[in-house]
């Protein structure tokens, strides 16, 4: 094989408290489309950011065309020939197309910007990508897809040898995606090395030659895509050996749901978020929403909690049709929701543990019915004891707690409201193993002892298999399967996620 275009060897990256990358290798050849795969937090974007100079690596080497490089800023990386197009188009919408393409490196004539050349060359560049538009109009005249193309045109023009596309298709429709793929193949023929990141399996299989799989910041392996069946790819991403997926302690401690239905959602969907999902949640049931990131798990949960409104379908709670317009509507129906992004939408960092715990309860009681301080303390203390939250005292600021304890505080916030349905979206992400097991057990015991319904969403297959009595499997923003009883196994879930093509 010819010399590799890019070789990243033993890359390490440490963030305070977390090892984001450890000993990761990545090789890219010229004329290759290479995908980086892995679940959230696997280290894909960290690896890309190390390569593009956004982060500084803590160990390892990067060799490009036989030369050692270590870009310290995105600009340096660009000068080395590494161009990146990010998920969100990062161009200036108030500048013209041509200005966007040449910003920062305008050709000059007698010390003035040579507008003629800029416009001409922009047109030529875009024509190469089969895009024919007026380059003197401002960027906001064009669709996101076209903006993406313009971003690529800009990236390609800076003498790029490596092009990194970070989820470029997430905002494109099918036709636009096809067009993008055509351009990618064209660039491939010109000998460019392309790194393509996407959550859509179909696209990976359509366009890529190779795939490198990461998990928990470690390299799982690099494979030729044609020799890797989908099922195996998923198994590698979620970290389960296919042979070892037969489950051990399956029914040992699971809850037994009652016949009574608590919530029944029929064909619910929201434009741009969720296509169609049917969910029936029984009392005392731990139900799991499985699927890869972006499959619609979180979106479904958000619809059930009234964060987003449904555009079609209906939700019945205890047999009564309910219109959930905002979280308070859901809270009145005794639903609680621990969101996926703890920092952004969960904790109120500068408030104390006590205030964070009583927040939802106070919101429900209303601003005029202030919970007396003594009662607040009692509730907080009870929760701290019940969930074994590690705090110095209840007045400690939440932001100073560890991730696992922050998660427990948010769970406590909802338990204090005495919900009938508790939605836990990725409650175990980024927290230590001990706490993970604790939270899983808690979900089961809530269902068992209090008859509470629990929705459990997680990217980790085995914890879903261990805790849930029913699994709703989603792919491409719609429900594709529902598994119960014996069918609940990592094997079954992965098959369902991979779909018929497996």
């Amino acid at each position: 094989m010819a010399q590799a275009l890019l070789e990243m060897r033993y890359i390490d990256k440490v963030f305070p408290g977390v090892k984001a990358l450890s000993n990761v290798n990545f090789t890219l050849h010229a004329g290759e489309i290479h995908s980086l795969m892995g679940e959230n937090g696997a280290g894909k974007s960290t690896l890309v950011k190390v390569l593009t100079g956004v982060y500084q690596r803590d160990g390892g080497t990067i060799v490009m065309n036989g030369k050692l490089i270590s870009p310290k800023t995105p600009k340096e990386a660009q000068e080395c020939g590494i161009s990146t197009v990010y998920q969100e188009v990062n161009l200036c919408s108030n500048l013209t197309v041509a200005e966007n393409i040449f910003i920062g490196r305008e050709p000059k004539k007698h010390g003035f910007i040579d507008w003629k050349t800029i416009n001409q060359r922009s047109e030529q560049l875009l024509a190469k990508l089969d895009v024919h538009i007026d380059v003197t109009k401002t960027l906001d005249n064009y669709s996101v897809a076209l903006q993406q193309m313009i971003a690529i045109a800009r990236a390609v023009d800076v003498d790029a040898k490596i092009l990194i596309l970070d989820e470029p298709t997430s905002s494109l429709n099918e036709e636009e995606t096809k067009h993008l793929f055509k351009i990618m193949r064209q660039l491939q023929r010109q000998g460019m090395g392309i790194v393509f990141i996407s959550h859509f399996l179909d696209q990976i299989y359509e366009i890529c030659d190779h795939v490198t799989v990461l998990r928990n910041g470690e390299l799982v392996g690099a494979y030729e895509i044609s020799k890797l069946p989908r099922l195996e790819l998923i198994a590698k991403m979620v970290g389960k050996d296919l042979s070892a997926v037969k489950d051990m302690d399956k029914f040992a401690e699971k809850s037994t749901p009652s016949e009574e239905v608590f919530l029944d959602a029929k064909d619910i969907g929201a434009v741009g978020k969720l296509r169609e999902v049917d969910v029936t949640i029984h009392k005392g049931e731990v139900i799991g929403f499985a699927g890869l990131l972006g499959s619609g798990r979180t979106e479904t949960a958000e619809l059930l909690f009234g964060i987003e409104q449904i555009h079609k379908g209906s939700i019945r709670i205890n047999g009564k049709k309910i219109n959930l317009k905002n979280p308070m509507d859901a809270m009145k129906e005794k639903i609680g929701f621990c969101p996926e992004d703890r920092k952004r939408s969960g904790i109120i960092g500068d408030l104390s543990v006590r205030e964070n715990i009583i927040l939802a309860m106070q919101a429900k009681d209303g601003i005029m019915h202030h919970i007396p301080y003594e009662e607040q303390c009692k509730i907080a203390d009870d929760c701290i004891k019940l969930l074994k939250i590690k705090v110095s005292d209840r007045e400690q600021l939440v932001k100073n707690l560890s991730g696992g304890n922050q998660q427990k505080v948010i769970i406590a916030r909802w338990l204090a409201t005495q919900p009938n349905l508790l939605i836990l979206d990725e409650p175990t992400r980024g927290i230590d193993v001990g706490t993970k097991t604790e939270i899983q057990k808690m979900a089961i015991s809530l269902a068992k002892q209090r008859g509470m319904s629990v929705v459990f969403i997680s990217s980790e297959m085995d914890e879903m298999v261990r805790t849930c009595t029913k699994l709703v499997v989603m792919r491409d923003r719609r429900k594709v399967a529902e598994l119960t009883g014996e069918d609940i196994s990592s094997d079954g879930v992965m098959k369902a996620i991979a779909g018929g093509a497996a």
Binding site: P327, R344, I348, D350, A360, I367, I371
Partner: protein, 357 residues
């Protein structure tokens, strides 16, 4: 000692120290600063009373501003709203030379406050519902507000000769202190009761620290933001009454001029970060008094009104530096370096001692 330590760690420490420093400075450099006299008709006179008297409208503005800033917003229209409120009350009472009111004063006062609330609700609508940036949204009323006030007064300065109107910022017969001090006190007490008896503090802080999380916890973020701007409008309305009563006239161009800046400064002095979140009502009140003391001091020392902004600017810079994390880090590093130097010296001295022995 323990209590002193506890106080040093409390949020009120910096504002109180700043005020004390100013007061000490005044006592030394301004003659008869601390003296308070009782006049024959039972009124208290003196610089201290004067400071308190003149800081009332600022205190009230700062109360409203504190809540707005705590939600990580800002309201730069309060000065203009003061002018509008002043215009409303003065035009309604009217400038008749024979000292007769055109409309009952109670009605005029209520109307002025009501218009203030309306202005606040307008700001709240723009910020909370239409999600316009607070500075831009309140800038609209800041610039347009004085025009509105001009329209009401028809471009005139309306001077009110109706005697009871003076009482708002003056002395009620037989009272030792001017009425506006009692008004400010009542407003502070109202806020204190609200803070104690309702969850407004918790909600406002939650919204200011993390609005998304607050929404996910069931708080109606839009309503909370709307209400704080409405309350800020109410405060501006009350301030307008005091400001106009002080000069017994409505001057659309100058009533409440630049007061929004002083109110923001008072809140910042009080220890509430402009980025929102935790807020300190007590701090804002002390901050407002501090600013008025600063102003009075400068006048007493012969600094002209034109130069006053420079002094205030210096004060703002110092306060911002004290609150800045970076500056604190630099200060800590400097302290650490000094400590290690001193320690180094000490050991060398010890070494000498050892030698001699």
């Amino acid at each position: 000692m323990d209590m002193l330590k506890k106080f040093a760690g409390s949020s009120l420490f910096l504002p109180v120290v700043a005020l004390l420093v100013l007061l000490v400075f005044n006592t030394i450099f301004v003659d008869g600063f601390l003296s308070i006299q009782l006049t024959e008709d039972g009124r208290l006179y003196g610089r201290l009373v004067d400071i308190l008297n003149r800081s009332c409208s600022l205190i009230i503005l700062a109360l409203g501003m504190t809540f707005v800033i705590a939600t990580s917003g800002i309201d730069i229209s309060v000065g203009a709203v003061v002018a509008i409120s002043a215009a409303v009350v003065c035009t309604m009472i009217g400038g008749r030379g024979d000292g007769v009111a055109q409309m009952p004063m109670a009605l005029a006062v209520l109307a002025a406050i009501g218009v203030g609330v309306l202005c606040g609700m307008w700001n709240g609508l723009l910020v909370a519902k239409f999600k316009i940036q607070a500075v831009v949204a309140t800038l609209i009323l800041m610039t347009a507000g004085r025009g509105v006030a001009q329209l009401m007064t028809e471009g005139q300065i309306i001077t009110v000769y109706y005697k009871p109107f003076e009482y708002i910022a003056g002395f009620l017969p037989g009272m030792p202190l001017p009425t506006n001090i009692f008004i400010a006190l009542a407003m502070v007490l109202l806020v204190a009761v609200l803070m104690k008896k309702t969850s407004i503090g918790l909600f406002v802080q939650s919204v200011g620290i993390n609005a998304t999380a607050a929404r996910y916890a069931g708080i109606n973020v839009t309503l909370v933001i709307f209400l704080v701007y409405a309350f800020s409008g109410l405060c501006a309305g009350v301030s307008g009454l005091i400001e106009s009563s002080l000069i017994r006239a409505a001057d659309a161009n100058n009533a409440g001029l630049n007061m929004e800046m002083d109110a923001i400064l008072a809140v910042a002095l009080g220890g509430t970060l402009l980025s929102g979140g935790k807020f300190y009502i007590g701090g804002s009140v002390i901050g407002a008094i501090t600013i008025q003391t600063l102003t009075t001091t400068m006048y007493a020392l012969g600094v002209s009104a034109d130069q006053l902004p420079v002094v205030k600017a210096i004060a703002v810079v110092i306060i911002c530096l004290i609150q800045s994390k970076k500056a604190q880090e630099m200060f800590d590093a400097w302290k650490a370096r000094r400590m290690s130097k001193q320690n180094g010296k000490k050991t060398s001295v010890d070494g000498k001692v050892a030698e001699q022995a």
